[in-house]
């Protein structure tokens, strides 16, 4: 049943993707990308990745639609008629790239495979040893704050930088007023 649902959703996604490339009216394209995000969020939910699905829906269907519409308000809503001739070089390049990508997935363990390396390599050590090694009862906390502490430090630095950037951009008007 789940496989069938996944196949149907992927078919819908393919139909929308083809339609997006064919339609010239940009507002319709924005609407269709919103649909694409909602459908791929459904697909991710059915693959048990609810957190990823949620991000996809919030960013893809929510914020991206807003940003696209803001851009369309500044420009035209009709795509210019460009060169639409069939280019065989581009077609061959895209086909080769797609084939390489599919070839790359052949080595990946099957979806939901319990013998995949990710479930055996270090996960067991985290589960059994982390209370003794780190001394924190919560497994997730010990992984986040100790085993991959440098990674977390880098992430928080990125978020801090982004926050400072947003504050500088948004708070500029007010500061100018005060200095005047």
């Amino acid at each position: 049943m789940e496989t069938l649902i996944n196949i149907i959703l992927l078919t819908f996604l393919a139909i929308i993707a083809i339609a997006i490339t064919r339609i010239r009216h940009l507002l319709v394209t924005v609407v269709l990308t919103g649909m694409f995000s909602l459908l791929s969020a459904s697909l991710l939910v059915s693959m048990d990745a609810v957190d990823v699905a949620f991000t996809e829906a919030a960013v893809g269907a929510g914020i991206s639609t807003l940003l696209f519409l803001s851009v369309l308000a500044l420009t035209s809503t009709e795509e210019l008629a460009g060169n639409r001739k069939f280019s065989s070089i581009a077609f061959i390049l895209v086909s080769i790239t797609g084939a390489i990508l599919i070839y790359g997935t052949l080595d990946i363990p099957k979806f939901g495979d319990p013998s995949a390396p990710v479930h055996h390599h270090i996960a067991e050590r985290f589960i059994y040893e982390s209370p003794d090694e780190i001394g924190v009862p919560n497994m997730v906390t010990s992984v986040l704050a100790s085993y991959r502490g440098y990674d977390t430090l880098g992430e928080t630095t990125v978020i801090l930088t982004a926050g400072i950037g947003v504050l500088l951009l948004l708070g500029r008007g007010k500061q100018d007023k005060e200095t005047d």
Partner: protein
């Protein structure tokens, strides 16, 4: 039971997809996206019960909110032709 509901949801998804692709006006397509957002909420709810793990039911609420934001943004675009800009007072610095 839930399988029948899931089939109905997938059919509804397909129909809203057809409406979004065929048009004929832009408003039909907008309505199709809004309907698809609602169907996504239903999908999450039914899928949870179908697979016997309805823990993620609450996430549907947040999807409903996201759907609302997108619709408001599009309607605002039609009403004002932009996403809002600084008022005279704010520009007067």
């Amino acid at each position: 039971m839930f399988a029948a509901a899931m089939i109905a949801i997938l059919l509804a998804m397909f129909m809203s997809l057809c409406r979004a692709l065929l048009g004929p006006t832009l408003y039909d397509r907008l309505l199709a996206v809004n309907v698809l957002g609602t169907i996504t909420v239903l999908f999450i709810a039914v899928f949870g019960f179908l697979t016997g793990r309805p823990e993620f039911l609450d996430i549907g609420l947040a999807y409903a909110l996201i759907n609302f934001i997108a619709t408001i943004a599009v309607l605002k675009f039609f009403e004002y032709r932009d996403m809002g800009r600084a008022t005279e007072e704010e520009l007067d610095i």
